[in-house]
Amino acid sequence: MSTQSTVHGRSGLGTPTPAVIPGAVLWAAALLLAVLAPFALYPVFLMKVLCFALFACAFNLLIGFAGLMSFGHAAFFGGAAYVTAHAAKVWALPPEFAILAGVGTATLLGLVFGALAIRRQGIYFAMITLALSQMVFFLALQLPFTGGEDGIQGVPRGRLFGLVDLTDPLAMYYAVLALFLSGFLVIRRAVHSPFGQVLKAIRENEPRAVSLGYRTERYKLLAFVLSASLAGLAGSVKALVFQLATLTDVTWQMSGEVVLMTLLGGMGTLLGPVVGAALVVALESYLAETSLPVPVVIGAIFVFCVLLFRKGIVGEIAGILKRRA
């Protein structure tokens, strides 16, 4: 087993990693930190970070490991949020089923989007996903159940498995943490699975992968659907945390935001999106209290990253570590 601290997956197989023990310690420390965090920081803020971190990780699965840049992931995030909110509020489903309904919707959407979008690559792919997600935006605006501009409000958090009362902020936090971790682990595993190997091969050289007998569209589609489902999970959880689902979650600016998080943290690294999401969410909540215009600052970071910092924080650090090694 290769246990690497940076999990870039590009270094050779079987090379003994000197960072095995520090890596494990690092993970444990991070977990401990996550468990203790709500006693020091505002839990809702932390939950928001976790939701967006999961969202960014899901997005990153597609761009970083399948080489497909979706500019429409808000559709899955927001779509799932709406369905979860509706399920919890109107159908009065318990939270676990409400989340399941949201994730299911995102998966279906992912299937449809994916089937259409993987016909093209690169910028075309980005534009198609963007346009399709805009369609979901308009649907969210017009469908009767979404509440138009009002969104769905006052969503009950309910009791998880009939046991845990999620109205308690701490309980909610640990539930979110658990969901985030399971999402994160799924992604981590997927990246290092037989499937992940094929995906990497496709990203590197698609015609060659085809000539080896892989039906690459199916792999790309599965990656897309997986990514959509996990983005949906993030959206569903967010709907329960904030007890509402609104248009903001399905706008294309939201799709752009998740790109920024991933770019800032480092595309194609496992931890990058988490770092990026934490940073962006923290920055936004800090900026909200200053008179600085948020979009301008976010846009400036975008431009900065694209021009000078394309590997992102984690990517750069990994690069430095690699050079020293």
Binding site: M1, L13, G14, T15, S193, P194, N205, A209, S211, R215
Partner: protein, 250 residues
């Protein structure tokens, strides 16, 4: 006469009114090395792409082991044992040499969609992968990223990867293009070695290698078959000399 393993019947391809391949009939016998030559733009690569289903033909049929594969998907063609290489080197640059070969070995396992399985489930393939890597003299490079290989070694890796699929028919598109003299000799020998027990269809400009390796040669010109036969016959054909070889060869 040996069995025909691959056959093209009246194969044509038009690109927006421009006919790149015109009624080509091609029969490849099992166990032979069959070369496809012709001037640039004669349609060699196009024929290749048609046979491996990377391009849909405008007209004509392709038969593989007697089965019509004209409408099959490229990936399926590969699964049936008809595997191609590319004119420009085709490796997975940021995978290691071992992983490059393993990707090819992994498909028959049937776990390629299993995103929940650990990578370790693939380790059973390493032994066979290393054997193949040895076979093309790449053992020293096994753990290096493919991008770091010199050009000729990449071609060797590509052949190892192709062999990993244990193909019945290998299609090689200019396997020697861009190689230095040393590499050419080495690779030609490799092709001869791996061709044992298989069928090879290759496009190649290097006439001396073609002469040396191939049992049958088909000459294309402007999308049409100009001549076919063993090297000696073909190279004496005045039309072939005029269209392709010129006064200098043969």
């Amino acid at each position: 006469m040996a069995e025909i393993v691959l056959e093209a019947r009246d194969l044509s391809k038009e690109f927006k009114g421009f006919t790149a391949v015109k009624g080509v009939n091609l029969q490849v016998r099992r166990g032979t090395i069959h070369a496809l030559i012709g001037p640039n733009g004669a349609g060699k690569s196009t024929v290749f792409n048609l046979i491996t289903r990377f391009l849909p033909p405008t007209r004509g049929r392709i038969l593989y082991k007697g089965r019509d594969i004209t409408r099959a998907r490229p990936a399926d063609v590969a699964r049936m044992g008809l595997v191609r290489s590319f004119q420009i080197s085709a490796v997975f640059p940021h995978l290691s040499v071992l992983e490059n070969v393993r990707v090819a070995l992994q498909r028959p396992l049937g776990t390629s969609f299993h995103f929940w399985k650990p990578e370790a489930s693939l380790h059973g393939l390493h032994e066979r992968a290393r054997d193949l890597i040895d076979a093309v003299n790449l053992a020293a490079w096994a753990d290096r990223a493919a991008v770091e290989l010199p050009y000729g070694r990449k071609r060797a890796l590509e052949i190892a990867t192709t062999l990993a699929l244990d193909p019945e028919v290998m299609l090689l598109d200019e396997p020697l293009a861009g190689m230095g003299h040393e590499d050419i000799g080495h690779t030609a020998a490799l092709i001869r070695r791996v061709a044992a027990g298989r069928t090879v269809l290759m496009v190649e400009h290097n006439l001396s290698v073609v002469a040396d390796l191939s049992d049958t040669i088909t000459v294309l010109r402007r999308g049409e078959v100009l001549a076919e036969g063993p090297y000696d016959t073909v190279s004496r054909d005045p039309e072939v000399r005029e269209a392709y070889m010129g006064a200098g060869h043969g």
